[in-house]
């Protein structure tokens, strides 16, 4: 595939050569550095703020009371289940007999 020649003729080459010489005026470096620093600080504080957000979602008091409630419920259900199964165990009668009463 042949590449088409650049637009026009030598005038185009001259135009490009002149255009390449164009240089921008210098920018305000201090202002640029200030905006970069501000953005870096904003990002850093946003990252720091993420951790407290998680603790807000799971406050300590709620967490403790939820764990206590869960443990109590588990103990209650487990005890009831154990009591149910205890009576049908083949060795339950032997324990009852040897202990002289209910387990």
């Amino acid at each position: 595939m042949n590449t088409p020649p650049d637009p026009g003729d030598s005038r185009w080459d001259d135009l490009l050569a002149r255009a390449r010489k164009d240089q921008p005026a210098p920018l305000d470096l201090a202002a640029l550095q200030r905006s970069v620093s501000l953005e870096a600080r904003r990002l850093a504080s946003a990252r720091r703020a993420e951790a407290p957000d998680w603790t807000a979602l799971l406050p300590f008091r709620s967490l403790v009371s939820s764990c206590l409630a869960g443990t109590c419920a588990f103990t209650l259900i487990a005890s009831w289940q154990v009591w149910q199964w205890w009576q049908v165990m083949p060795w339950a009668q032997w324990v009852v007999a040897s202990s002289g009463g209910a387990p």
Binding site: T3, W12, R18, A19, R20, D22, P24, A25, D28, L29
Partner: protein, 188 residues
């Protein structure tokens, strides 16, 4: 062995503001020169340079020391330039019709308020930019880097993540279109 740039970038990545400012000071001139090829005005150039460095700050956590920092930053800058062309294309489409071929000659005059050095060079750059702005944004970005920055098509392909074949084809079509535009605004 890590380059001074890499160690500075490592420090900036860890949150060292001083290192970040030093990176900006070292690279802002090169980035400004590169983005001047894309910008329509000095105000736009300021915005583009600022946007590039803000993207740098946001992207630093993803930067890896295996990557040369200057290349990584240059890629951010060329992507910022391409995004600028895309935004301008959308804005031009919604705000006003594209100028006709007759308007092009008058539009190439540099603005009086624009600071700059050589007026002839500025006028030529304005004329080329004006023509490039009438191409599709990706084509304009390609030819901006190729014609005004002198990049090879292979380098441009690597920069934008295109295949070399696709880049050559895109360049061929874009140059043909540019040729037609140039001939339409230039008296024979």
């Amino acid at each position: 062995m890590s380059s001074p740039d890499s160690s500075l970038a490592e420090q900036a990545k860890a949150g060292d503001l001083e290192a970040m400012n030093q990176l900006v000071a070292e690279h802002h001139a090169a980035i400004t020169r590169l983005l001047w090829r894309f910008a329509r005005s000095h105000a736009d150039l300021e915005d583009l340079v600022q946007e590039t460095f803000l993207r740098m700050v946001r992207g630093l956590p993803a930067w890896r020391p295996q990557q040369p920092f200057a290349h990584w930053l240059q890629r951010i800058a060329t992507n910022t330039g391409r995004d600028y062309f895309r935004r301008n294309r959308i804005r031009d489409r919604w705000q006003a019709p594209l100028p006709s071929a007759d308007d092009a000659a008058t539009a190439t005059q540099p603005e009086a308020v624009e600071p700059g050095g050589d007026p002839a060079a500025r006028a030529a750059a304005e004329e080329v930019k004006h023509l490039l702005a009438r191409l599709a944004p990706d084509d304009a970005a390609l030819l901006t880097l190729h014609h005004l920055e002198g990049w090879s098509l292979v380098d441009i392909a690597a920069q934008y993540g295109w295949t070399v074949t696709a880049t050559k084809l895109r360049a061929w079509r874009a140059r043909r279109q540019l040729r037609a535009l140039y001939l339409s605004v230039t008296p024979s």
